[in-house]
Symmetry: C2
Subunit: 233 residues, 2 copies
């Protein structure tokens, strides 16, 4: 087995690799043994050539004239994207959004396991969500040290997100997924990924208005026969 090539892979490519991995997992469940780049691309919603370029970062992993081995490519992607080992995650802010994430069934199968839920609200602390008991946020440092959690998820109000972030980083967490609507400041060596739900809606509203104001053409009141795909992103 040639060791994986840890050349720097563009972040946009990494995000797509994760999508390919999920599609492959579904194909494997269906008993498929091989896939072509074209089929994989349509299922993932991307261009076939782009998909092949993404996969080329891992070195040759397909067979010309045949396609890709579903199981083989799946295992290779799994290894590239962080291995099959379970990654402990700590979630701070067990509100509605936090509870929904902790209970999301899609995470465990991908190797992500929530090992602790933290909150400040005394009414929330002690309640059970998805098999875990919500603990007071004062135990943050203890929990991170015990579980060696490498990923922190912040679903707190914006006002306290930065202080929670600081405590997570000090405790040793180096990867943070932030749902709070603020830009977090972190030292070098820590990665933050932000998910901003308001921004997503706002972008849609902009596109909506742009459609209404500029071109009065192309307003389909009857759905067309689905030209493969379009604005999907």
């Amino acid at each position: 087995m040639p060791e994986s090539r840890p050349r720097n892979i563009p972040e946009a490519t990494v995000a797509r690799l994760a999508v390919y991995l999920r599609v492959l997992a579904g194909l494997a469940d269906d008993g498929r043994s091989h896939v072509s780049s074209g089929e994989l691309a349509t299922a993932a919603g991307v261009n076939p050539a782009g998909l092949r370029k993404d996969l080329s970062h891992l070195g040759p992993c397909g067979v010309r004239g045949v396609g890709y081995s579903v199981a083989g490519l799946r295992d290779r992607l799994t290894e590239t994207l962080g291995g099959a080992r379970s990654r402990p995650c700590v979630l701070v802010g067990a509100g509605r959004l936090g509870s929904a994430l902790a209970d999301y069934s899609g995470f465990p199968s991908r190797g992500f396991e929530f090992v602790a839920l933290l909150d400040t609200d005394p009414a929330t602390v002690g309640s059970a969500v998805g098999g875990l008991t919500v603990r007071p946020v004062a135990e943050l440092e203890t929990v991170v040290a015990e579980t060696r959690a490498s990923i922190g998820v912040i679903t707190t109000p914006a006002e306290v997100a930065q202080s929670v972030c600081d405590r997570l980083v000090t405790a040793g967490v180096r990867s943070i997924l932030n749902f709070a609507p603020v830009a977090l400041a972190v030292p070098a060596g820590v990665d933050v990924r932000k998910v901003d739900l308001s921004v997503e809606l706002q972008v849609l509203a902009f596109l909506d208005q742009q459609r209404d104001t500029s071109p009065e053409l192309g307003v389909p009141d009857v759905v067309r026969p689905l030209p493969a795909r379009a604005g999907a992103r």
Copy 2:
């Protein structure tokens, strides 16, 4: 008042404009009257020059030597991003994530109002979430026609997401925010934005592994004095 210039604004810029708008709203609440691009940029987590370039798409809206009028820029961004009018949104899939979104307090202040929650589960239908009663998904077409909803939010399981999407589009919805882990196929003229939580975690896992394997240097076990910002995105 010069009419807004509907030149095509890059989508990445639109997403950042939404962030600026939120920051400006906070500054306005604090009673600030003017801001410089530098201050706005740090609060939004971007480069000052990039911020000015983003704003340049709206035409000149600042005063040289002084900065930007908080209220003026806020109003201008509000108008550019779809106006202040309330936009009705329909949410399909009132599970934990859907309920969390419907109850999110940050949306109404931005002009987004959920007018209907739909679900197939008979146990969920009829329950109240955030002031709304969950209705059966069979009423989708009726609800969209009544409320003239322009934005649809899909938080269903992946298996039914495409069929829900098709029904939304046929009913007249032209902007869709998709949380289901599938690539939706839509006709031209319909915009889809996808939020994939598993992908976000997977990217963090990749970055985590990349840090652990390649460079053994730069592992800060003590937080440094915060050099402004770093990996924030």
